[in-house]
């Protein structure tokens, strides 16, 4: 699992693109988009071990949460 930065100089532009993808959507539409996004990214990764490791990591509460 990659916990260090993997986006390089594109980080800000990718984050902005993610926000823009949600622009003008209702909350329900945004949730649906997120669900599709997760499914599509999972398919992009395509490796059960990596996906399960990331899922577990995402479930672990971060100190601020």
């Amino acid at each position: 699992m990659i916990l260090e930065d993997n986006l390089g100089p594109e980080g800000d532009s990718i984050y902005t693109a993610l926000m823009q993808a949600h622009e003008g959507l209702t909350e329900a539409q945004s949730h649906a988009l997120n669900a599709r996004l997760v499914l599509m990214l999972i398919n992009e990764v395509g490796d059960a071990d990596r996906i399960k490791a990331v899922l577990q990591e995402a479930r672990t509460p971060t100190p601020g949460a």
Partner: protein, 517 residues
């Protein structure tokens, strides 16, 4: 035409008037599993008595999807082609989300197999054909209808059984007692064995209707599945065809349902009309049910053996109940025969437990996953499912995530005790292929078989039947590659050899019979 539930004859058993000799095997339950068990044992030369509290076949269609592997086992039991000829083989499946078609798939069978991926055939036909096959073996199968087992006692090396008949009670003794009494298994309850698993809260309505005119747009039978069908708010629905113009409709009803109120004509007829429109139909059978996935921890308890639904139950998605039970039979028959004839130690039966608890855990895993997909338990589960369905129309990857049941597949026994080596085919059940004038499944099952090809010469090894294919056809060559194979009587490949060397073959055979570890 409605099925004719002709009762099987009852005759007063000899045990009512004088004690009977101890029987090698008594099977409790003449459902598909108990009947197949008796035939399997008979074909290995073992006599059995089959006791059933009832005297008709399954009332209602119940299990209708019989998988390829089951048909291959039925082939060995002498009923495969009869099932195939009567059954409906469908090819096109269509999936709908609301009123929109999501995608359709062609179940184009791979060429070069005797049997298709599966057929639809009502359980009452399956049982009828099995009963008729059993009746062809009168010296080895003693079918006793209206014989209800009310008690049993394991005496260490045999079992004593209490039975009630219309003419009063009697007792039988058996070397082995096979419980094939279905999901409610009284034997399991008498022994107080935990039967643990997951219960699902959704109710399902299942209806068989007879219609002259096909509801599908083409003449060939299809399978239609809806998520959130327009005619049945927010749930799922399934429509498929059985022989005799009977159509099976499954409707998910949700957890807050009164099953008694739902299984009434007033409630059911409007639902059917919403699916089939003006097509005239006749209601044949209906039932409302909930289900669970559960299994015994151990299928072998000294001389009491559990098979079929009495050992494990699954949700119906994936058709793993009946099909899983037939694999129990396939696995147990030759082993019990070898133990009874002294050819194998009693410990061989432990491998039935290991191999089939493994198979049934796999069936439970698959059918629980399908059930969870079909019955989302929270808003977020419903959201993900909805988006999978939305993506599926345009994104092929999402189609593979849609789970309305993964059809029963034989499990792999790779790495388990009776198998030798780790060639990729070892542990798998044999893959069929055409032979000159027949099929591999017709010639490589029922006894330990050494399959050799081309230039190889099969050595003579005691207890092994040789099957030599001088010029393998392209299917056989592609599916088996090089070397030679030892195949168990239940069609599982238990060893692969680069060259047919007698010592190695004899060692693999001894291991497969549990004679060595």
């Amino acid at each position: 035409m409605a099925y004719d539930y002709a009762p099987f004859p009852y005759t007063a058993p000899p045990g009512l008037t004088a004690p009977e000799q101890r029987h090698p095997v008594v099977i409790v339950g003449a459902g598909p599993i108990g009947l197949a068990m008796a035939i399997d044992l008979a074909q290995h030369g073992v006599a059995s008595v089959v006791l059933d509290d009832n005297n008709v076949v399954s009332v209602g269609s119940r299990a209708i999807c019989w998988a390829k592997r089951t048909l291959e086992i039925f082939d060995r039991l002498g009923v495969g082609t009869r099932m195939l000829d009567k059954g409906v083989t469908w090819k096109v499946g269509r999936l709908f989300h609301g009123d929109k078609p999501v995608y359709s798939f062609d179940l184009l069978p791979e060429e070069g197999h005797k049997y298709p991926a599966f057929i639809n055939l009502q359980q009452y036909y399956v049982e009828q054909y099995l009963v008729e096959r059993a009746q062809e073996l009168p010296d080895l199968i003693d079918l006793r209808f209206l014989n209800k087992v009310t008690g049993h006692a394991d005496k260490g090396d045999h079992v004593v059984i209490d039975i009630e008949t219309p003419d009063g009670p009697y007792q039988l003794e058996a070397d082995y007692y096979i419980a094939a009494e279905g999901a409610a298994s009284p034997t399991r309850k008498r022994m107080d064995l935990p039967f643990e698993g997951q219960t699902f809260e959704e109710h399902f309505l299942i209806v068989d209707v007879e219609m002259e005119k096909s509801p599908f747009e083409t003449d060939s039978p299809e399978r239609w599945f809806w998520f959130a069908p327009p005619f049945h708010h927010g749930q799922s629905a399934l429509l498929h065809k059985q022989p005799d113009n009977i159509y099976r409709i499954d409707l998910q009803l949700g957890p807050e349902t009164d099953p008694k109120a739902e299984a009434t004509e007033e409630k059911v007829i409007p639902r059917i009309k919403a699916i089939v429109g003006d097509t005239p139909f006749r209601l044949d059978w209906m039932s409302v049910y909930k289900f669970r996935c559960a299994k015994l921890e151990n299928f072998v308890h000294n001389h009491v053996l559990f098979v079929g639904d009495s050992a494990h139950v699954v949700s119906p998605f994936g058709a793993r109940g009946g099909n899983g039970g037939i694999q129990d039979v396939d696995n147990l028959g030759w082993k019990l025969a070898a133990v009874l004839s002294g050819d194998a130690p009693a410990a061989l039966l432990d491998s039935y437990n290991t191999e089939r608890t493994h198979g049934s855990a796999e069936n439970i895993l698959n059918s629980s996953r399908a059930t969870n997909f079909m019955t989302p338990k929270s808003p977020i589960e419903a959201l993900f499912r909805n988006e999978v369905l939305n993506l599926a129309a345009t994104h092929p990857f999402a189609r593979k995530l849609i789970n309305s049941g993964r059809l029963s597949q034989p499990c792999s026994l790779q790495g388990m005790q009776l198998q030798s080596g780790n060639h990729p085919l070892v542990g798998q059940s044999l893959i069929d292929a055409p032979l000159d004038g027949g099929w591999l499944v017709e010639q490589a099952q029922g006894a330990f078989t050494l399959l050799t090809f081309g230039e190889q010469t099969a050595p003579k090894v005691d207890g092994i039947r040789a099957l030599h294919v001088a010029t393998p056809g392209p299917d056989l060559a592609r599916r088996y590659g090089s070397g030679c194979y030892l195949i168990r009587p239940d069609g599982h490949i238990c060893a692969h050899f680069d060259r047919p060397e007698p010592e190695a073959i004899a060692a693999a055979l001894a291991r497969a019979k549990g004679q060595t570890q």
